[in-house]
Every structure is written in C-alpha cells, then in structure tokens.
Symmetry: C2
Subunit: 480 residues, 2 copies
Amino acid sequence: MSMGLEYETLNENVKKVQYAVRGELYLRASELQKEGKKIIFTNVGNPHALGQKPLTFPRQVVALCQAPFLLDDPNVELLFPADAIARAKHYLSLTSGGLGAYSDSRGLPGIRKEIAEFIGRRDGYPSDPELIFLTDGASKGVMQILNATIRGESDGILVPVPQYPLYSATISLCGGSLVPYYLEETANWGLDVNQLRQSVSKARSNGITIRAMVIINPGNPTGQCLSEANIREILHFCYQEKLVLLGDEVYQQNIYQDARPFLSARKTLLDMGPPMSQAVQLVSFHTVSKGYWGECGQRGGYFEMTNIPPKVVDEIYKVASISLSPNVPGQIFLGLMVNPPKPGDISYLKFERESKAILDSLRRRAHIMTDGFNSCRNVVCNFTEGAMYSFPQIRLPPKAIEAAKRVGKVPDVFYCLKLLEATGISTVPGSGFGQKEGVFHLRTTILPAEEDMPAIMESFKKFNDEFMEQYEDHRGYSRM
Amino acid sequence: MSMGLEYETLNENVKKVQYAVRGELYLRASELQKEGKKIIFTNVGNPHALGQKPLTFPRQVVALCQAPFLLDDPNVELLFPADAIARAKHYLSLTSGGLGAYSDSRGLPGIRKEIAEFIGRRDGYPSDPELIFLTDGASKGVMQILNATIRGESDGILVPVPQYPLYSATISLCGGSLVPYYLEETANWGLDVNQLRQSVSKARSNGITIRAMVIINPGNPTGQCLSEANIREILHFCYQEKLVLLGDEVYQQNIYQDARPFLSARKTLLDMGPPMSQAVQLVSFHTVSKGYWGECGQRGGYFEMTNIPPKVVDEIYKVASISLSPNVPGQIFLGLMVNPPKPGDISYLKFERESKAILDSLRRRAHIMTDGFNSCRNVVCNFTEGAMYSFPQIRLPPKAIEAAKRVGKVPDVFYCLKLLEATGISTVPGSGFGQKEGVFHLRTTILPAEEDMPAIMESFKKFNDEFMEQYEDHRGYSRM
C-alpha cells in the first residue's frame, strides 16, 4: 500500500511536537492583527519588531559586503565611514566569492578564528576554531546536536522546567524523552542538585538513559543568572553522570544587575582543572539574535565544542554539510559581534553610545516590568536578572480555573487569551514552558519600547485586577 | 547507565549518512589548497566561488535594506539608482522591523504573495501564498518535507539514480529507505516508467511502503530536461500509486537548449485537469542559489504545496516555527528573483545585460565541457541540457579497477583523486550519486570562468589520456 502526505500518515514525532511561542496565542494575535487590532507582540524575543533600531556600524559593514561594487565608487566615503569600508574589505577577503558563495559547512574559517579569539579573551583560555561551527541561528545548532545525540525514546535529555520550548519541541521531533528538572521559583529560579538527582533516578527507573543536560543561562523564560557555585555543581554532576552539558548562553550580553555577571560554563569548567576540565563534554551556544544586537532576522549563530571526540565532531560536520552552508551575511554579523569597534576607531563612540543606550534601557525596562507585575493583584514576579523575559506567576482563583475548564482551555491559556482580547498584549502561557502542577505563569518579553512600557503595564494591571475581581470568590486562590 | 557524545552512542541514522559532494574528494582538495596548491572547485554548484559576479540590482536593494538609515541620507542617490531605493523601501515595508526582526516562520507574507504571483504567471494558474513556505535554501525545505513524511525504515522514497545526494543523505538521516529508479544514460538520462514500476514492485516485496517520489528537473547531476510526456507519465504514476511528488526544480532558469524548455510539474499537473489536478500531491522547490543569480551564500529558498491537506500544512508550519524564521535577507532575494526589474525601469537594461551575459556564457560552457569530455579517451558524456553539471561516463580499464581495489578505493574515487592530485580539478565521483553496477562517472560543474575553460579541459584530457594509457592493457575496458 502507498500513501501520500495525509495527517494520519505523518511522522508521529512531528505530530507530537508542541511549540507554544508561536502557538494558539500567537495565531489568535495574528488573526486579530489582520482584523485591524493593535497587537503588542511580546511572545517572542524579537527586539527590532518592537522598534529597536539596528546598530549602525555592523549594518554599514554588511551593506558594503552585499554591494562590493560600492567599494570602488569614489562617492562611497560620503555614505560610509572609513572603518566600515576597511572592515567590509576584511570580511570579503575571508570569503571565497563574497556573500553569494557557499562557505565551508562549518562556516568561514576566518570568522571561526575571530570567534575563537573572542572566547579566549572572555574565558581566559584559548579556544580552537576547528571546534566552532556556525549555524543559521542558535536554534539550528541545538537541533543539530540533539539530533546527533538522540537514538530513540529511551534516550533522555535533562531540561530545566520552566524551559524554552525549543528543547521540548526538538526532543519530540528527534523521538527522545524529555527528563524535567524543576527550577525553584522561591529560590529565584535556582537549581537544586538534589532535586536533579531525584529526576535522574526516577527517569532511570523508567528505563531512560540520560544522555545530556541543558542549562539556559541567563534563563529563558525565568531570567535568572546562574551563580558560579551553581554552575560548578552542574558540571560536577555532568562529570559524575557522564552527560554532555548543552549550555544555552545566547543571553550572555543581557545582564541587568551587577551582583552576578555572566559566567560561561566553559570558563567555569576550565577553572576547575583536571580531571574535570579534560573530561566534561560541553557544547555552548551563542547568537547575534539576542544581546543588544537583536539581529534575529539575520539568523547567525554558533556552537563551540569542548571535550567532544574528533570522530563525533566529524559526524556533526558531515550532517551540517547536507545543507551546504549557513547563510554568509549572518556569519559576518557574528564576526562583527565578537569584534566590535575598538577605542580609537572612527565608529567607536557611536557604536558604544548606541549599545549602551539599548542595554541601559533594557535594564530600566526589566525593573518597570517586574515592579509592574508585582503591583498587580495575585501576581508575583522574580526580578529579570538577565535575558529578555519576565515570567510572573498568576495566582488564578478557583472560579477562573473552572471557567477555563468549561471552555476546554488550560487555565493560563484562558487567562492569556482574555488578556490578548482585552489589551492586545500577546504573551505565552506558562504551560508552554512547563511549570509545577497547579501553578500558572505567563511569559512576556521586556522588549516593548521604554516609553510605551508604563501604559502597557497599566493596561495589564487594569485587565488583571478586573479579571481577579470577576473570578475571586473572596475565599481562596489557587495554591502558590 | 549514562553516556555523553561518543561515536559509539551517536544516533545511528547520523552515522549512516553519506554526502559525497563534500566528502573525501572535497576534504582532500581542501587539504591541498591549505598546502598552497591551486584547486579548481567544481564539486559543488557555487558560481560566485568561481568568479561569477553578483547581479547589481538585487545587491543594491538588499544593501539598502541592511542599511535603512541610508534612505534618509541626501547622498544616497549618488550611489544607488532610484528604482533600487524604491524597491528597498517596498521590501522594508513588508517586514515588521526590517531585516533584523524574525518574520513569520513561513516567511514574510508580502514576499510569499510575490512568489505566488510569479508562479501564477509562469504556469498560467493562480497560486496561493498560504501554501508557499520560505526556507534557508531549498535543501532545508526538502529536509522539512522528508522529515514530515518518513516514519521509519519501512517508508520508502523513490529517488532517481544518479541523484543529488541531498536525497540519499536526508532519507538516511530520517531513518527511511531510498528506493532507486534508474535513469537511462543511453536515452539521454530519460525516465522509463516500466523500470520505475519494477523498482516499486521490488521494494514492496521487501515490505516497503512507498510514500513519495523525487524528480530533479533539470537533472542533477545528469543535466537533462524532462519532456512534457515524461512529466505526465510521472504524474500519472503518482496518481495511481498515491505518492507525493517532490519536484526539485531549482535549476528551472538554467536551460542550455531550445528544444525542451523548462516545464514545471505544477503546470503539467494542472493542464491535465480533474481528477488528477485535484488529487496528485506535489511539493515544488526553488531557490536563489541557482539560476543565473547563483546567490548560494544567501540561503534563500521556498517550497510550494499543491493538494496537500490543510492539517498537514499546519503540521509543517508548526515544525518550521521551532527554528523561528528563515533568514530575512534571503527572503528579500527571493522577492527580487521573482520580480526582477521590468522594461522601463532605470535598472532594467543593466540587469538584462548582466543576466544574459551569465546565461549565454553558461550555455557556451555547457558545450565546451561536453565536447571536451567527448574528445577524451574512454569518456562519453551526454550534453548538459540544463542545470549546472556535466556527468561524463569514464570507462575505466580493468587494470585501473584492480589498482583501485589494491589501495582500498572505489574505482571512480581512485580516478578522481588522481585527477585532483595531477590537475587541481576537484570533482565528485559518480558513486556519490549512484550509478549502475560496473559503470563509472564523475560530476563536475560547468561553472569555471569561460576563459579558463579551454585550459581546464586540456588539463583534464592530458590527465585522462595518460591515465588510460597507463592502465589500458589494450585488450578490453570495463563494460559500458
């Protein structure tokens, strides 16, 4: 018997995938937008879509790389500063045929070298360009590594809950098993290694072989920055359990407090010395989509491998080569990100001014948002220490939960849909990220323009407090 | 027990993947290049890497989209023509936040609309933008569709042999079974439907469920253009057997003869009328990497679905959303490709002149290369009617085959390695694409600069004829 593409005959793993960031809420928001309603898309960390302007210098360089004939134009200096022109020539010299030629499937060797130098400066330990692969955004890298790792449903991947659903979706797609470990909301979304051990024991007793552990630092959706002690505990755990650690560090430039600066898993590992520094397998991810660059649409990312055997690196290279090469403009953005203008360069002051304005504003917005949520009835929210999200807990009254059940909705989906209809604010329900039983959240980015933020938070508060008024029976709430 | 990323514990499907286009020959060529040897990379259809200049107009538009601040600069018209400026404003208006913002996971609605209009003009039947998905190059689209289709090793995909190894590699990666159907070299690489039926019967008797059939038109690596009669036979076969047809039409603009112009599978299907036109499932692929654009490094592609059920389209959308969005600059290139300058536009004449120069030269190169191969001892080659490749048959003498076996090499790999070492010409052995038992080929692109072509073919002939002289025993050759 033969069959074409019918729902019934699709790959079951495809059908199992859930991806809430662009799920029901996003689809409804898109519909409302088509109908003319003003929507504030805070469902996805997409800064430029909410008005953030691109940094000038990298855009000048990439524009020149796209139009190399401008470099011979006598008028080019009327539109482009000399350091952007020089940098464009430099990056074009790293390609073999400009932006229109496929690069090596791992990315341009010259860009990988610049990234290795950046990692070396950041961590204080040299990095090998041969172990850095460029990708069309960090998500694609995560998918490559999980696909290489997972053999079937008895392979388990430890994922924090709440988590960014890239992980749950990709594990479903690869046919593996997600093994959750819960972050502690009351301990500022910290990780308790004892709780982690319990998750592992439980999974093993169900026949699961744990293969890898994911950390997201700074946290998405939770916004916390991991402490050095916590990262060391995690590395120790991976060492004992022989797990690959996947370090999602795409928000490493998004830090909104000074007590806990970003610390890479790689630096922490190498600081610990042998035997651990030579044994723990680590793959670290980074991107141009986040930070203060926010160049999501360019799709530039990389991963760096530590202690991964050469034969495995070769296999990952082979699979990467099927899709020939990551997009080359995105690779140039990565080069620029790890090698921004330096003091004394013509563009330095402007670049610094633009960067600082974005980061300072994000820091202020993190405060406005967290404070705003905490001023609302039945809402509590940890401070967004890093990344781009607030993840407030919404203590839904039992009557709201019942009302949701009556219309066949998960309670937080019910709440977020009502929020969307009332205010145009498009968020993602906490159930899309995972949360403890009976506890409800939503995720919103901190990315709306700073000047719009007070009005948005006021509109949220008005909706929320009325919602609570409507559903509260003045006897009890859902448990914290 | 837990295990990290060791070769032994990798996903078996990953280990099974073979991808010759960037396989042993490419790796050896890269090594030789590092050692200072001049390499002519004809292993992959990468025109800009071999000196093809980008078309000016699209690069002007994308450069302006990357640097939108130039649009406010009073000097912009000194560097950019007015129609490029207008077009950049148009494409920026289709984005929500410029090139730095994620688009919808299917691509920008405005670009999908322009593609639908192009398809409508090409085929004479309107196309629905909702059924067009943009991708980071056509390969990514093929991978998405095959991944949605394949449930396990008893799902078979009909693939032409010789084939472009994207298909074999992706089917391996998805854990499915490749069911080969052989193209007839002596019938100008045509397809024999009786032979196709035999392949299907044989696969079914082995317990395989055939799900889909791939055609590559114009052919890669074989260079033929399918006739309307042949496409109709194929569609009829897919109708009878209830197979999805995957139409790889990425070379639709690369046609080097006038007897058989490109004809899309979609137009042919819709011309056939009901019931077939409403029943046969078709997914067609296209890209900015090929044609006379050759913008490989930009990674812009799309697929269009015909007669695919809405629930399946939704599932494919869901999976696409995991990696958020295809790169936005590549989407703009697609818009420009389907909507080039029109007569009367400022840039029209220049664009036409550049396009025609590239296509005319490719046509001449197709002749130089085919004629060159046919002048060599023990080499026969069908004319490259379309696409970017020549696929000559190399009749290896038995002594050469024995010599290859002694060093543990497949005979055509042995030949291609010797060719590489002697001349710097980096090709791909026919075994990487599949070929009949005991018959040997190589694939080369027709992309080296036209002025270099005679010297390259002379260098090839010198190597080949000496090789044949060395290994011929003047009694017999390998069978044709």
